[in-house]
Subunit: 226 residues, 2 copies
DNA sequence: CGTTAGGTTGACTGAAGTCAATCGGTGTGG
DNA sequence: CCACACCGATTGACTTCAGTCAACCTAACG
């Protein structure tokens, strides 16, 4: 389906040294980190390991952790230009995994932290990312606490559409299982809910792409945080 | 039940200028903030307002927000020595409220932030608090996503016991409604779950105090984060 | 002494989880 | 090239856990 894996040197040449596809957000803070290619399902950094801050260049990554009794929780999805891994200090550290074939730039946490100590602008940027992730987590939490499956999926679709470019057509590379583990639903329930939304004429699905036919109606399902 | 409200001046004398009941964590970063008394249920800072960072001196505070459809979510409980309010940047800002009659020291956010810009130690402390709250939220999130009522309550009791001094006897000043809004349960379910735990000999209740009779058995319910 | 708020319990309901079967696409080995 | 296995998605049937509605009780307070 996708081109064969390329080695890190080629990618560095393509994404790192030469003209980049888009400006790197991490690159603005520290020396440009090397980009690597990860196959779908590959581990970008292990659970419990928090040595890396990562920026997705192409594709999509998820952060996930497995609880003591074997259940999996997906804590976030990250598309091109988004940064993850900085919040995973100590307890609750997440594994980073590639959702689909992806290119990810990794950067040692330590180099960012020492940079933040001497550069107030960098410190502010890190702080902003962390509080943003905090706010996102809090919003999801209130949804998980009280929302119905319909509300969860509606909110999820709107969030993804906004983050992946603001189009009404969104390609969701993750599986129903991923979405379920993100929203606290069984994959069957995710499937059923998509069917309901399709029957009500709110969305259309084309494989793994979703077209939001009536975003404003979806918004009425998705609970406003406050 | 409690002594009459005292004015802020008396409190400043008792908690601020004179010998304190315990060392202030905020006081280590900025000029000692004045402590104020709040009656049970009183608002410490409004939802949407994020101008204050607060440290609980006596009693207990909760952070809560009301969603668009009128449901309430409690985001955290904070006992003596704990700090809240710094994470409530922008979206998702929470109201801070006194759970019971409490003494709380408030400090302008701006003064902390400007302090952090010149004092790397202060910046590190703020960063540590924020990541700790992040980790706590993530743990609660995985509980809300997949846990049963029994698991939620067991986890809650162990968390509170640990944070309120590590004793097996815990005084929980918050109502069943508060606990329910914190864990995503109806207050009736909280009540029923306490009854189940009592019948199984895991806890004993004495009014609003809970005695953990077999903490290790509770731990087996409470899902380990990883 | 009446009122009110919080807690507990019961009966019922409903939404989502579980188990299971089917279908389609993809990659692999013969 | 084809048969097969496998994975993910979908749908159905059934079950279960927690929410809802309601009643009752207690303690606190005016």
């Amino acid at each position: 389906m996708l081109s064969a894996p390329r080695n890190a040197d080629e990618l560095s040449a393509e994404f790192g040294v030469g003209p980049r596809l888009r400006p790197s957000r991490l690159g603005g803070l520290v020396a440009l980190p090397p980009a690597s290619w990860f196959a779908a399902g590959a581990t970008i950094c292990d659970q419990g390991e928090n040595a890396y801050v990562c920026e997705v260049i192409e594709g999509m990554a998820r952060t996930a952790q497995v609880t003591g009794d074997g259940r999996r929780v997906v804590n976030g999805f990250f598309g091109p230009g988004e940064v993850f891994g900085f919040a995973a200090l100590g307890v609750g550290a997440c594994a980073g995994e590639a959702v689909c074939d992806s290119v990810v730039a990794r950067c040692a946490r330590g180099s960012l932290e020492s940079r933040a100590l001497v550069d107030p602008g960098a410190a502010r940027q890190l702080w902003a990312w962390l509080t943003q992730e905090n706010a996102r987590t809090a919003a999801r939490l209130s949804l998980l606490a009280h929302g119905s499956a319909l509300e969860k999926i509606a909110h999820f679709l709107l969030e993804m559409a906004e983050r992946l470019g603001g189009k009404t057509r969104v390609v969701l590379p993750m599986s129903r299982y991923d979405i379920g583990d993100y929203l606290g639903l069984a994959s069957e329930t995710v499937s059923r809910t998509f069917t309901v939304l399709r029957e009500r004429g709110l969305v259309a699905t084309e494989g793994r792409a979703v077209v939001l036919l009536r975003p404003e109606a979806l918004g009425r399902y998705g609970v406003a945080p406050n």
